[in-house]
Subunit: 315 residues, 2 copies
């Protein structure tokens, strides 16, 4: 087996790329623009050229390279076909075959959220534990469910779609998915802002949040840290709903750890105070000691996970 | 590899035993009593003797036998240790090692509910699909989550504890687990009887169920089939809650099929009418076409699954 591999995370604006050792040490990272014009036909050739250039600069032979791992935003099946990565302009394409031809190296492909979870398992908050659930609290809620060291992608690629677990029968507003009462309507950054808006409208109780235009999740948790009572009430509602959702997940795969990432996780350990309190309330007793940790890799999770994907896949 | 194997399901009253081909054909089945007295010290020797007797009767050599798969009611870890199978009188015991010594053949051990799910995957309702969730609607609700052909036992052996997913914030009665509002408080045989009792107490609407003492789940679904309006209302409430719970599970592992077993499943296909209607309402769109099928193996699921366990384990 070669000594190095490339991990590539294809986003709608930039492609993140990393050169790794087989042990997962990130030696070098760089970005290239994602040229989405003309149905994204340049995306893969640009990546292949950039990898070949990097290899040439280091006098690396093909035998030195295990392969190239790629992840992209869209459902990916086991044969490496990506179905409509709309942000990249792609239709249905066998990215694994295309990229293998272009770069002349073994290639493995995965969905970006799932691959990022793999990265966190390997070198991030999961810290080697091979039964974890990565929960990304961003604009929405994404999930990566890992069982026995493998991402659970599911029969239709909908494994880990935990943001759309139904949690509230009384919701009147629609979620982006078309349902009402989904977990991400309360637990995401947008959801927390919504909870705040609703709470503030209920009465006139004093709060530092009242002078803020368009309260964000960050504003809420900053105010929680400063002891603001209304902000603490909002955090309790957030914790109740998210704790309930994560307790349901624990009853399915009983992970060792929940690894919490995404923009909301920047609030830090204060989150756990509210999530774990309710998680313990709602979880089956056999799952109550599930650990909660923060994700560590930030936006490098995708390149780490892609590297892991190709290391495991080529073994 | 030998041509035959034994699948053994150790229950509190009887031990079910089966002789299988390596392809999973059940050639012969029989039962012996479970002698639970004296901390169940005779249970494993009795099983070993019965297997040896069966082999002798057929002039089978050790080389003809792949091994013995066992399942028992209790948490089992990967090394074959069972933690307190209270129904058998056992404390903590390495059943795999003990049984290997007694029977002189390779042994694999699993938890009975998980192993039964494996049996249904292999030769039952799962029909070869390797991403399924087996839902057992009995006195309680048990689950067996299978991903990539393997049972998800979870970090603490609490994988598949789907009966204790929290589903109702307003419940006042405690579940057997100590929480309030668990899925099995509504979706199990006991749960359906409870829903019926509550519905009948609400008003005086005419129903054939009013003349029945202690309405059971069977009474409810018999009345549903006969068109009884109150029974149909009860089935709707059951379907709403169970559909919601299964939708949450689908958002985690996105199975190809739910395989529904246990006593309640004797009602047959009529169940699906009520479960699927609400499942589709609550599930993420990517999971809505998950299939629902009835379990097929009944109380033979454990011996089939045990046989599969040893065939996979000895490979």
């Amino acid at each position: 087996m070669g000594k190095f591999c490339y991990g590539v995370d294809i986003g709608g604006t930039t492609v993140k790329m990393g050169l790794f050792t087989a042990d997962g040490e990130l030696l070098e990272k760089w970005e290239i623009p994602t040229r989405t014009e003309e149905a994204g036909k340049n995306v893969l050739p640009d990546i292949a050229a950039s990898i070949r250039e990097n290899m040439a600069g280091k006098n690396m032979a093909d035998a030195d390279v295990i392969g190239v791992g790629l992840c992209a935003p869209g459902p990916v099946d086991d044969s490496g076909v990506i179905y409509k990565a709309v942000n990249l302009g792609w239709g249905v394409m066998n990215v694994k075959d295309e990229m293998s031809k272009l770069v002349g190296l073994p290639v493995m492909v995965g969905n970006d959220a799932n691959v990022a979870a793999l990265g966190e398992m390997w070198k991030g908050g999961g810290d080697g534990s091979n039964n974890i659930v990565v929960v990304t609290l961003g604009t929405g809620i994404g999930g990566g469910v890992i069982v026995n060291g493998k991402v659970v992608s599911g029969f239709n690629g909908a494994g880990g779609e935990i943001g759309h677990i139904h949690i509230n029968d009384d919701e009147t507003e629609e979620c982006g998915c078309g349902n009402k009462g989904c977990l991400e309507q309360y637990g995401s950054a947008t959801g927390i802002a919504r909870l705040a808006k609703r709470r503030l409208a209920e009465d006139d109780k004093a709060s530092t949040l009242r002078v803020v235009d368009n309260v964000t999740a960050k504003d809420v948790f900053d105010a929680v840290k400063a002891g603001d009572e209304v902000a603490i009430e909002i955090a309790e509602r957030f914790g109740d709903i998210l704790g309930k959702g994560l307790a349901a997940i624990a009853g399915v795969t009983n992970p060792e750890k929940f690894v919490i990432g995404g923009g909301v996780s920047k609030a830090g350990d204060v989150l756990f105070e509210y999530i774990q309190k309710y998680f313990v309330k709602y979880a089956f007793h056999g799952c109550r000691d599930t650990k909660f940790v923060l994700a560590k890799l930030g936006n490098e999770a995708g390149i780490y996970g892609s590297a892991k994907l190709v290391i495991d896949g080529v073994k």
